[in-house]
């Protein structure tokens, strides 16, 4: 087959395809533009898909059991961004550290959704539906939150509208007009499948080699730009008069089963990307940052112990970050919120996971009520049906 430029995939066509396929699915319409003026306070939700290792993000360096479980995954003590005499941010989070100094960062450790198994699918289903169990076609909690709050407008930034925003309320969506980059993790998983195919395997390998030679730098910068472009767009949309006051962004590639690294490595690069994104969002928002809260959440945590391939496997509790000028009004507080369950053997869930001490829904419910002004009845009956009020434990 000839490989002339004219025969290359037409990226513009692909984008069009993606948009059409997405709009052809069970997605709500795009008609928010004519709706009422949005509220003053802003909410940005970042979903980390794949399960972020919370113990690497916010390191309990003061827990005596830590190094016994995962010495290979802990950066050198003198590189840690210490928050107090027990917790430290991973060195990649220099931007978050600055926010923390200004009272613009909240960290809740040992937090988990209602989910207690270890499937990404079901975990993300519950994370986004806000329900107790995984269901086949649930609505998203954020969509339910805005169904009766017509002054609230939400927008998904990305190729498709994620479950969290699906439901009866109409939401917007926007994606940059470049072909979505293939994430390296997906490619490496595909490569594993192709390794068993004696005909196709070597051919895919050749294609990947060519891609490395021709486009490595381009691809890399494009994938970073990929999420950065969404963040830029999020800031623009939140700043726009009459635009959405709620945005959702998705970031994948957190499933670090192998070689996740300590001070450097796969996970450090993800942390850096996340850290840059939040700094970039603050810059982009300008004055709007003062009434914004960013919620960063993931479907579950990872095992406390390092596994046989210098990574971690699916666990239970992780970390949630809150960021934004909107946090200053909550006053001074400990750097890390939530009771610490401890890492000693007897405290681990199923002998392997960080034990959750907070329900992620309780944290979100607090933000929805005190920051976004949603009535408590709505939050506890519709958004998170069955969630007991006042469940958030700050210490």
């Amino acid at each position: 087959m000839s490989n002339t430029d004219a025969n290359r995939l037409n990226r513009r066509q692909f984008i069009k395809t993606a948009a059409l396929l997405a709009s052809a699915g069970s997605l709500p319409g795009l008609s928010w533009a004519n709706s009422a003026i949005s509220g003053d306070n802003k909410l940005a939700v970042i979903i980390l898909r794949g399960a972020m290792d919370g113990l690497s993000a916010v390191i309990p360096y003061g827990d005596a059991a830590l190094s016994g479980h995962r010495a290979a995954l802990v950066p050198a003590d003198n590189t840690l961004l210490k928050l107090d005499n027990f917790f430290a941010l991973h060195p990649a989070f220099s931007g978050l550290y600055q926010l923390q100094q200004r009272g613009e960062l909240g960290i809740v450790h040992a937090v988990a959704s209602a989910y207690r198994e270890r499937s990404h699918f079901d975990g993300q289903n519950i994370l986004e539906s806000g329900l107790e169990t995984a269901q086949s076609n649930p609505s998203g909690w954020l969509n339910r939150a805005i169904q009766v709050q017509t002054q609230q407008q939400a927008m998904a930034l990305g190729q498709s509208v994620p479950l969290i925003l699906r439901g009866q309320a109409s939401v917007g969506s926007w994606a940059p007009s470049v072909l979505p980059a293939i994430n390296d993790d997906t490619l490496s998983r595909l490569q594993n499948l192709y390794n068993n195919d004696s005909f196709l395997g070597p051919r895919l390998q050749e294609a990947l080699n060519a891609r490395d030679i021709v486009g490595a730098s381009m691809e890399n910068s494009r994938s970073v730009q990929g999420f950065a472009a969404l963040v830029d767009a999020a800031a623009s949309f939140l700043n726009a008069a009459g635009g959405p006051n709620i945005v959702v962004m998705e970031n994948d590639g957190w499933d670090t089963h192998a070689n996740q690294g300590a001070a450097q490595g796969i996970l450090q690069r993800k942390f850096t990307e996340l850290d840059n994104s939040i700094t970039q969002l603050k810059t982009g928002l300008g004055a709007t940052w003062q009434n914004t809260v960013v919620v960063v959440m993931t479907e579950f945590g990872r095992t406390v112990r390092v596994n046989g391939s210098l990574g971690t496997d699916h666990g239970t509790a992780s970390v949630a970050f809150l960021a934004g000028g909107g946090l200053v009004k909550y006053g001074s507080r400990p750097a890390v919120l939530g009771p610490w369950p401890g890492l000693s053997e007897s405290m681990l869930r199923d002998g392997r996971d960080l034990q959750p001490t907070n329900d992620l829904r309780s944290l979100i419910a607090e933000i929805l009520q005190s920051h976004m002004g949603f009535p408590g009845s709505l939050v506890h009956e519709v958004v998170f049906p069955g969630l007991v009020a006042g469940g958030l434990r700050l210490s």
Partner: protein, 467 residues
């Protein structure tokens, strides 16, 4: 005794399993295929009212002549420009409509084995819409329906004859430009033979290149075919037969080479139109044809290098039944070799796109979605009726599975999964469309998101093969 897997039935013989089809096929995979055969000549409802080949050839031919006549006087008037634009827009719309419907027919087909047989034969008797045949620009789809689909439940010789009398093939392989040198028209205008169609009929449609014919046989067949023409005006003026429909088949006696001809050792008296008809019947019944067709069927449906036993068995049924196509098609399904999971075929680009959408039920086939899937098909170099040569689309995995082509498939799936990933659960779908494969199922279960899981499923090597 073969194990009749529903996956083989739907993926290897058909156009790809749809998740909902499984229980029906499970009951009797082989019977499910055979039951489709009597339905193979149904015209899919989507094609109703789309125009026949004669009309569409006449229309394109008229438009082309008009454009040429306008351009002859150098200066196009505004009115002429407008007329050309209108004709071009009409043509673009019609081409898009045809491509879209053809893709939708495959995606929606509830007789996918029958539909693949139609496309196999359409590719066996391949035509291409090339720039130097402007009258054919809309003729591919009606050709497939009129010459191929309508005769798929007859004998091979019926289809061969229908093709030979179809205006699309006669124009595509230049038989309309072939004059008997000693015919009245040939003498008067000093024109001669064009061997193109005669050669391809022997080499590609019947005997095969090693089927035992010589250059003299090509010339003899070309002479017999002179006068097999299309009822369209020459340069200017009226068409040869104002009584019969424009654009249709027309036997033009004034072009026919007089005299008896000798083909493969047999003498054919000059009976006009019927001279070539008799030759075509004999070609269809020639032992080389049986072997050649058996080989092509086996290479298309079983493996790039099919076992000799399978080819021999198909050739025997072809010969025994005098080329009765439904019985040959059934014989294919009855072959143990065809159900051997070790025998596999790499999907063509079209099969890959069709099976992808079949695996994702619920994506509505709007004009926009179909148009863009067709654009994708073009970027994979497989726009319908644009095969690179009269031999049709290649069969070999090497053709469809080169590194760049694979990367394009991965990119396409990455985009599709990015768009619809949250709507589908690959953990459920995988078991419904592919045989159990521990590595694939594990990879999907371990995927970090629904989107990634769907991408892994549809970009997997397992999904690229028919097995």
């Amino acid at each position: 005794m073969a194990l009749y897997s529903p996956f083989t039935a739907a993926n290897k013989f058909g156009l790809g399993l749809q998740p909902g089809e499984h229980t029906e096929i499970d009951k009797d995979p082989k019977g499910w295929l055979i039951a489709q055969l009597p339905l193979a000549d149904r015209l899919p409802p989507r094609y109703a009212g789309m125009g026949n080949a004669a009309q569409l050839i006449e229309m394109a031919d008229t438009d082309y002549r008009q454009r040429i006549s306008f351009q002859q006087d150098n200066q196009l008037t505004a009115d002429e420009q407008a007329q050309i634009r209108i004709a071009q827009r009409r043509s673009t719309t019609l081409q898009r409509e045809q491509s879209n419907q053809r893709l939708a027919v495959a995606i929606e087909s509830d007789t996918p084995f029958a539909e693949r047989l139609v496309r196999f034969w359409s590719n066996h008797f391949s035509i291409a819409l090339t720039n130097n045949k402007p009258s054919l620009v809309h003729a591919g789809l009606p050709y497939e329906n009129e010459a191929i689909r309508a005769h798929i439940n007859g004998r091979f010789e019926d289809m061969l004859l229908a093709v030979a009398q179809h205006p699309t093939m006669l124009i595509y392989l230049d038989n309309t430009a072939s004059f008997g040198p000693n015919s009245p028209a040939g003498r008067q205008r000093n024109r001669g033979l064009n061997e193109n169609y005669a050669r391809e009929m022997l080499e590609l449609h019947t005997l095969g290149v090693d089927g035992g014919y010589t250059q003299d046989d090509v010339i003899a067949l070309a002479r017999m075919l002179t006068g097999w023409n299309v009822n369209l005006p020459a340069q200017t003026g009226t068409r040869p037969d104002p009584q019969s429909p424009a654009g249709g088949f027309f036997y033009y006696a004034l072009l026919h080479e007089p005299g008896a001809q000798q083909l493969l050792g047999k003498t054919y008296a000059d009976t006009g139109l019927r001279q070539a008809t008799a030759a075509i019947q004999d070609l269809a019944r020639h032992p080389s044809t049986a072997t050649f067709i058996a080989n092509k069927l086996a290479r298309h449906f079983i493996a790039d290098q099919p076992p000799a036993s399978a080819i021999a068995a198909l050739a025997k049924v072809f010969t025994d039944t005098q080329g009765d196509l439904p019985r040959v098609h059934q014989a294919l399904v009855e072959l143990d070799e065809a159900w051997d999971p070790g025998m596999q075929k790499l999907k063509s680009a079209e099969d890959f796109i069709v099976s992808t959408v079949r695996a994702l039920p619920g994506i509505p086939l709007t004009e926009d979605v179909l148009g863009i899937l067709n654009d994708t098909l073009s970027s994979f170099n497989q726009r319908p009726f644009t095969a690179p040569s009269p031999a049709g689309w290649p069969e070999q995995a090497e053709h469809w599975g080169g590194p760049d082509a694979l990367m394009k498939r991965v990119e396409f799936i990455n985009m599709v999964a990015g768009a619809v990933g949250p709507d589908f659960d690959a953990r459920d779908i995988v078991a419904l469309i592919l045989p159990a494969d521990a590595a694939l199922q594990l990879a999907i279960r371990r995927a970090e998101s629904k989107t990634q899981a769907l991408a892994l499923l549809l970009a997997s090597p397992q999904f690229q093969w028919r097995a």
